[in-house]
Structures are given as C-alpha cells and as structure tokens.
Symmetry: C2
Subunit: 307 residues, 2 copies
C-alpha cells in the first residue's frame, strides 16, 4: 500500500478514531498520525496502548502540520472544535469528520474553517456498542461503507485522496448529499437505536417483571436490543438532537405501522401478520447476500453452526 498522506491528525480518540489509527497502521497509509483528546485520562491511556504516533497536549499542536485533520468528536461539539483548530490549520489542508449526521455538522463546521482549507465531510457506517480509546480495532471498517458527503465547492482532488484513505482502511466508499444521507441514516441507524433504547427502558421500568427476570430470560430476543441500547449516550444524544427532522419523520412512520400491527393483533387478523412477517425476511436475505452480515444463526453466538 502506498502512503496517501504525510501527516494526519485525529481529534477525539474514541472507538472510531482508534479503529482508524489501527487500520492506517495496518495499511501503511500515512507517514505520521498525531492525536488529541480533551480528557487527560484518554491521552494517558492512548500513550499507554500506543494509539497514535504522537499524542499531543493541545489540539493546536496536533493539527498544525497535518495534511488531513479528522474530527472524531460527538456531533454536538463539532462546531466548537472546528473554531478552536481553525487558526492553526495548514494552508491547503483537508478537514473531514466522522459524524453520524451530516447537514447539521456541515452547518456547524463549514463557516468556522478558513477559505484556504478543503472541507470534505464523511461518515463511516461502522461501530460497536463499545466506546473509548481501547475499543478500536483495525478490522472495524473492512467491507463496511463510508459515505463521503461533499459540500459545495469541495475540491475533487481532496475528495479523491480521502476516498483512497477510506478504501485503504478496508471500506467501500459512496458519495451522497447531506439531506439524503441524514434520511438514510435515520432509517438504518437513528430510528432503530431510539427504538432499542425505548424498549430496554420499558423493560427496566416495569414493576411486575423484575430486572433480574429480564436479564435471565433475555435470550429470547431482548438481548439484541440491549446491545444496541448500550451504545455511547453522549454520541446518541447528539445524533438525535442534530438529525431531529429525519428521525422524527421515520419514527412517525414507525408508529403508524406499529399501530396497524397492534390493531391486527387485537382483531385477530392472522393473514395480515403472516404476510407482513414474510415480507421482512427478504430484506434479511439481501443483507446477507450483500456481505453486510453473516448467515450464521444468532451471529454464531457460542460457535454453533446450524446443521
């Protein structure tokens, strides 16, 4: 693999940034990766595990010589961090991000940056329920999709180089506009997360079923919701607040459909339920055929394969 950038700075050192670092090292994609995290504890931990070639004490120091700066902070603080780094950016540098929402991030970050840097927003569709500098691993992006969301005037050469970096980290890359990105993510990620959080909250609240019962008997479906609902609370608070319209639109559709299915249950309309449940199987097959999940039962929990 040829080196794509001389110097890259990662601002924020959580799951995504740490996975990027290991994927960059695996591919030999960058000369030097500097890093910065606001919390001294995170910087200490990063140094301890060798995360980043150089962990800096200030964000200015981390970004000043970088050819590419990637903002890996919660969506709610993207604008503030952009304002902080703006004076230190090298002329001609590219600034990107990994935020789960794009229109709001573009609105926050765009006007903070000087005109002599390129802004190329992006979003890797990958993650786990773990967070923090120790949660990353080089394979996180392999065969997953990263969406690049160019803004008006994004430099084609800067886009092309960022695409090469993501491909070097194992990802497939598509381009999309911000509004469509936010709607697609509301469907595939934001609404499912809110629904999972809600269901786990309901179970926790219910007086007549104890938490210990919920925990012991979770294998019947509920535990998959708890995995999703264990994701980072700060990240998700910011996602919902900054992708408000699309998330509320999809949740509105969801509620309509849920009411229709509740009515079918109440009315004993088995045919409606059966045909609905049959239709949803096709999407699952599509996901497996597209290599976005495994067909192994239960994700192969326990290592047992179906005979």
């Amino acid at each position: 693999m040829t080196q794509i950038y001389d110097r890259v700075a990662l601002v924020g050192l959580g799951l995504i940034a740490s996975s990027m670092f290991w994927a960059i090292k695996r591919g030999g994609l960058v000369g030097e990766v500097s890093g910065y995290a606001r919390s001294p504890e995170t910087r200490r931990k990063a140094r301890e595990i060798g995360l980043c070639d150089r962990v800096c004490e200030t964000v200015t120091e981390a970004v000043k010589d970088a050819d590419l700066v990637i903002l890996c902070v919660p969506v709610g603080v993207m604008g503030a961090v952009a304002a902080e780094i703006a004076p230190a950016l090298k002329a001609g540098a590219t600034v990107s991000d990994v935020g789960s929402v794009k229109a709001d991030v573009i609105a926050q970050v765009g006007h903070e940056l000087p005109s002599n840097v390129h802004f190329v927003p992006a979003h890797p569709l990958a993650g786990t329920e773990h967070s923090g500098p120790e949660s990353g691993f080089a394979e996180l992006f392999d065969n997953r999709w990263t969406l690049i969301v160019p803004v008006e005037g994004s430099d084609p050469a800067a886009i092309s180089k960022l695409r090469q970096l993501w491909e070097g980290m194992g990802a497939n890359v598509d381009e999309m506009d911000a509004e469509h990105h936010d709607l697609v993510l509301a469907v595939t990620s934001h609404a499912p997360h809110l629904i999972a959080y809600t269901m786990v909250g309901v179970a926790d609240d219910l007086r007549r079923v104890t938490d210990s019962e919920v925990i012991k008997y979770s294998a019947a479906g509920f535990r998959d919701f708890t995995r999703i609902a264990a994701s980072d609370p700060t990240m998700w608070r910011d996602v919902f607040l900054s992708n408000k319209d699309a998330t509320l639109e999809i949740l509105g559709r969801f509620t309509e459909e849920l009411f229709a299915l509740q009515k079918a249950i109440r009315d004993g309309d088995g045919d409606h339920l059966h045909s609905y449940f049959t239709r949803t199987r096709a999407i699952r097959r599509g996901i497996i055929e597209a290599g976005q999940d495994t067909a192994a039962a239960n994700f192969g929990r326990g290592g047992a394969a179906p005979k």
Copy 2:
C-alpha cells in the same frame, strides 16, 4: 449421563425439536426418540440427516409407546394436535410442549388430554432466526433458561423428570405460573419481535430510501433488527394472536415511552435523552454478567476483539 426416559416422541420437527434431538443424543438422555412432522418433505429430510431414531408416517405411531410426548408445533395448532394424539397416548405418559405462550396453550391442550396422562407445559428460551429440521444443533439450550409452567394437579414426579431432561440438554430450569410467564415473555421476546418486524417493514416501504440503500448501509444498527425480523412467520403470527393481552399491554407502554423520547428530541431536551441512554446500559451489563450474552463487540462479528 443416566437415561431419563425410555421413549420420547417429538411432534413437529423444526428448530427446537431438532435441537432437542441432538442435545438428547449428546447427553445419552433417552433410549429411543421417535419423531413426526406433518409435511412429507420434512419427514424425508429428517430421515436423510438422521434426525430422530425413528421417523413415523403418522403421529399416532410416533406417540403410542412414548413415556414423554413433546409438542413442538406452532402455538396455534397445539389444541388440534393434542386432540389427534389423545386416544393413542400410553397411560401414565407425560405430555409437554415448547410453545412460547403458556396460558393459551394450556387452555387449548389441557381439556383434550385424557385424565391418565400428566400435562407439564414448558418453554425453552432459546432460538435463532433459522427454522426447519436442518436448523437445529445440540448446543442451542446450553446455559439458556427453560421455564416449566405446571398446571393445577401437575404430578411432582413428572415435573421433576422433565426438569432433569432439560438440565441434561444443557438448560437452566425455573418454574413459573402461566400468567407471569406470558407477561415476562411479552417484555423479553414478543414486543421486541413485533417492534423489529415493524421497523424492517417501515424501511422496506419507504419510497425515498431504496431497499438497496437499506441493505448496503444496514451495519449501522438496522441489521440487528433484520435478524430478529427473519424469524418464522407462522410461529410469530401464532405467538401474537395467542398472547394478545400481554403483548398489547407492553406495546402500549412502549408507545408511551417512545412518545416521551420523541418529545424530548423535538424540544431539544438533551439531559432527558442522556440520562435515559445511560440507564439502559446497566441492563446490558447485567445480561453479560449473567452469562446470557458475550461482551465481544458486535457479537464478535468478523472475529475482531476490542483491544
């Protein structure tokens, strides 16, 4: 492992029955296991893969000498199957089932059975999104819970023997009354399944986001819903229709909470969202500590462990 029953009959040869057969063989728990499935194709497939010591052409033949008969058919046909086997049952035999709903199954099956057999309902809380005779594997019940739901007059010796069989197949066993069972399962299984089916249906319906986008970008959370929503449609139709009251009660609570969270998003109430999302993490930790799921990120998809 000592042999617990001389002869066991499995009626219905899907995921649960086939896993029971392999678990029984692994433990040497039964002298001979006979099996019956209504579909000739399923019987042929069962013979081909060695599922059951003897696959019978009629249900009467399968059950007539059995000390234990286990109904492994969809909840909606339990009563009809019980009526069919009733005249052929051996005096003193135990009849059990593996249905996901208990009050309705007890109402259907109880009055069909002759007074000289023992009825001991049960429900193993284990499964995968696959179905059919080839989907079973011996480890399905290992460290999962099976709930035994005795009815009035259930013979203590018959209960104790059935408990031994489930423990021999790797399961932990609890006893519970039918009404409480149905409420607990509405929370841990039935409502989550309906919600997952609904979300997948919404995604499939949405004109502005194509199915191919939903499929490609599913790794961001949605694919976990599709796994749940790929479960057997007939089984789940019957579950919702026969556990109507408890399912609708839990869905009602779910909708209330969802509306409260939607309002928090609309109002920009980040504190409410953050504290809600923090609380739900504790249940996840409980499930991992109780050995009901793995802490490996993403269920260890792709085999990568967090560093």
